[in-house]
Amino acid sequence: MSWEPVIGLEIHVQLKTRTKMFCRCLAGFGAGENTQTCPVCLGFPGALPVMNRTAIEWTMKLGLALDCEIAEHAVFARKNYFYPDLPKGYQISQYDLPSCIGGKVLLPTAESDRVIGIVRAHLEEDAAKIVHVGGRSGRIGGAEASLVDYNRGGTPLVEIVTAPDIRSAEEAKRFLQLLRQTIVELGISDAEMEKGTLRVDANVSVRPAGSDELRTRTEIKNMNSFNFIARGIDTEIERQIGVWESGGEVEQQTYDFDAATGTLTARRSKEEADDYRYFPEPDLVPVEPASELVDALRSEIPESPAARIRRIEPALDLERATVLVTGGLDRLWDETTAAGADDVATANVIANTLVGAGVDPDAVPAAELAKLVEARDRIPRGAFDEAISKLGEPGFTADPYLAQESVADTDELGPVVDRILEASPGQVAAYRGGKEGLLGFFVGQVMKETQGKANPRVVNDLVREKLDA
């Protein structure tokens, strides 16, 4: 029997507003412990929350970018539970009436767009940070004490919940890449998994292919990169298939993914279900945005990454288009090709050379880049690479590099090629035996020998000619 994975994601995005969600303490990393706190975010008696307008607007903006309906009447609720990272004994969070409802994200594929449903996106406040000291590294078990840093407490957090529409780990990863790019381009969050400003939990189940049943799902937490998310999901899919095929039953459970071993560890299961005793937060009023505000926010939404992939794909291919868009490189590609540079060559130079050199694409003058791309076969490789690496510098001009010529003289290059081939009889034999991929190896050796001054296309032709002779 073949199995179909059913995957839904819960994504937490920490907004990069200047101040916190319900008080005017600065939000953000790096300050000394508990220095960014006040009576409100410490939960002192009588302190009251006041909403951060920017956070509300950014949440609606994100909702609009995800094609959600923006609620005319959203309500914050209290989620009640005891934990030291929760100073009030409850978390203020939108619950049954969130700001954003029912959107979708399109995932361009070779055939058609896959539609991943967005159930909701709601706004809440983040918890504080706990450090366990004196026990096993950072774990609460055996710790002598737990220290709480309330700086993070009260930071605005948007939770996005997808429908169980994702069908593979790879698809989850591609969805997250597009989502992350959308968030970053809205300017509302850094959305960096390493920093915890983007956190993802995955709900996974499997079912017989072709069926539309929903079997018991499990939840995977603690995955701190897109690759780990994909590995975690794949591991869980395999595990569940194994359980079903051996006649067992998958049980509802939460797992932590251990990146070091690539394994899943079940969390201790609770005997009772949590009861958060939600009720509408009486200290706040409902969020009822004017339609003019929603329209104004809508007009600020940039073209979606998926639409941009579809737009530039005909000039390239899906893979290159996706790399450019999810890397935030497509605007530079647009401008550079508009300045006359070749579509595919520009894509390759941007995605490989430019990114490899660590150049900020937003600082690059497209006209200069276009000139370099067009001259890429004429000027020495070394000069080309150096020019690309300096593209982001203020006042950069390509002219000094364009004035250089690579060595294209076959009389001069011929002896170098001969020397390289003589030095590698094994590889030469292998090439002639059918391993044509070795061509690049010989070309590389020649480029190295000439310190990048040789014209790679001429070298390429020369090597092939001599090997095929």
């Binding site: 008696p45 009640n80 004994g89 009720f279």
Partner: protein, 470 residues
């Protein structure tokens, strides 16, 4: 300086003395502290006093649920013992900005939960009219202090009657303002959708004056609104053209003592004599469902509001082997029986599976109560009832019977649920103890209540100084 008799001095009179420079703010402050030194051992109105006055205007007493920067604020609870706020509640900041000097923090039922002040962790306050009896609650400390001349006026907080009922039992005037007109910022929360700070004083004009100081939108409290019209100090002694309504259900409420009923009806006669028209309105739900609705909504919100007292950051901490044990022990030792009872009630009312039947249903009832009051007030300027069904009762009388204690607020609760303003003023005596009359107005209708209350007050001529200390 002439001899000051704080027992009868009103805040307005005190302001006059200050304006004419017949007395200084510091002298006034000292006079009240002298009175406290003389009489508070018996009455126990204050949990702590402030020796050095900060303002140079009329002194004021604040209920101990109001945060005062640098001055311990316990809300009558052991769990907040030693807690000193780093910030002033907005109302504390506003009275400070007006120059009022803080006399001290007054006693309250623990977290304002109670109707007698007997639930204070620091012992009960006593009624100046008869120290064997309660002053009412939860704001019994403020009410008793004003009645005994230990403060010219003060602020309380009213959730289901905690300003109005003790004002009635001590012979003071007390206002519970329209929900949203006075900031709750810095007021230790009991039930957020009901809590409202209000003034207690000897006269309606004093209450109106203090209301002008504390009312108005506060950017730190999202549930506050700007007053639609400015506060007017009442002048007229006529009630010509004023229409008052007695809910017809009041006649059938057996809980109302005959002496209370007699004083109330005599006050209605006085109102008619001033030109008021006294009619009848219908509040079929208010006295049947008000109490049960209140005892779902208020404990539910309280169970959440009191969750922050976990021993982690401030107040009492009783150590334990684990976080959970520390929290359990702290809350077990820190909370008295009444907060524990309400936390339990509220936790059940919000539990999943019960929410719709309890909290959700109570909110629907609340909507009906709002509508019912609006309809009743459509043809009238104010609804009028006794404030409390009884006069002050002996200490210990109801302490063992929570339901009997809850019934004290039968008449004050419905309009609190509807968010409406209520003014209690003394209207006579029964068995030598004050009887309060409650006027309920429309939303933001405080000026109307002040006008009616002031005219009635003048005609009734109630002497606010307790008979035993005249």
């Amino acid at each position: 300086m002439s001899e000051l008799d704080t027992r009868s001095l009103t805040a307005e009179q005190a302001l006059g003395l200050l304006e004419r420079k017949e007395v200084s703010g510091a002298e006034l402050h000292r006079a009240y502290l002298d009175a406290v030194a003389e009489r508070d051992d018996e009455l126990h109105c204050y949990l702590r006093t402030v020796d050095a006055p900060v303002g140079d205007s009329v002194p004021i007493a604040l209920k101990d649920v109001i945060s005062t920067k640098g001055i311990e604020t316990t809300a009558g609870s052991r769990i907040l013992e030693g807690y000193t706020p780093v910030f002033d509640a907005t109302v504390a900041a506003r009275v400070k900005a007006a120059g009022l000097s803080l006399l001290g923090k007054t006693n309250t039922d623990e977290f304002a939960m109670g109707s007698s002040t007997e639930n204070s962790a620091w012992g009960p306050s006593r009624n100046p009219w008869d120290p064997s009896r309660v002053p009412g609650g939860s704001g019994g400390g403020t009410a008793a202090a004003v009645s005994a001349g230990l403060a010219p006026w003060g602020l309380g907080s009213d959730t289901g009657g905690s300003v109005k009922q003790p004002s009635a039992l001590c012979g003071n005037v007390g206002l519970r303002p329209t929900y949203g007109t006075v900031s709750r910022y810095g007021v230790v929360a009991f039930a957020s959708s009901l809590d409202q700070v209000g003034p207690v004083a000897k006269t309606v004009r004093d209450v109106a004056l203090l209301y002008t100081i504390i009312a108005g939108r506060d950017p730190l409290d999202s549930t506050t609104a700007e007053l639609p019209e400015s506060v007017e100090l009442p002048e007229s002694d006529s009630l010509a053209g004023v229409r008052l309504a007695v809910p017809k259900q009041v006649a059938d409420l057996d809980a109302i003592e005959p002496g209370v009923r007699a004083a109330f009806e005599s006050a209605l006669e006085t109102a008619r004599g001033l030109g008021a028209e006294v009619g009848e309105c219908d509040l079929p739900l208010a006295y049947r469902y008000g109490m049960p609705c209140y005892y779902l909504v208020a404990p539910a919100e309280a169970s959440s509001n009191l969750a922050r007292y976990d021993g982690v950051r401030y107040g009492l901490r009783v150590e334990g082997a684990t976080y959970g044990e520390m929290v359990d022990r702290t809350r077990d030792e820190g909370f008295g029986p009444e907060p524990k009872r309400r936390i339990m009630l509220g936790t059940y009312a919000l539990a999943s599976g019960y929410y719709d039947a309890f909290y959700g249903q109570a909110q629907k009832v609340r909507t009906l109560l709002i509508r019912e009051h609006r309809d009743a007030l459509a043809g009238f300027d104010a609804i009028v009832t006794p404030t409390s069904p009884t006069v002050a009762f002996p200490i210990g009388d109801k302490a063992a019977d929570p339901l009997a204690m809850y019934a004290c607020d039968l008449l004050t609760i419905p309009s609190c649920l509807a968010g409406l303003p209520g003014l209690s003023l003394p209207c006579g005596l029964s068995e030598g103890l004050p009887v309060g009359l409650q006027l309920i107005g429309r939303q933001f209708g405080e000026n109307g209540l002040f006008r009616v209350g002031h005219a009635l007050e003048g005609a009734l001529g109630f002497d606010t100084v307790p008979e035993r200390s005249r």
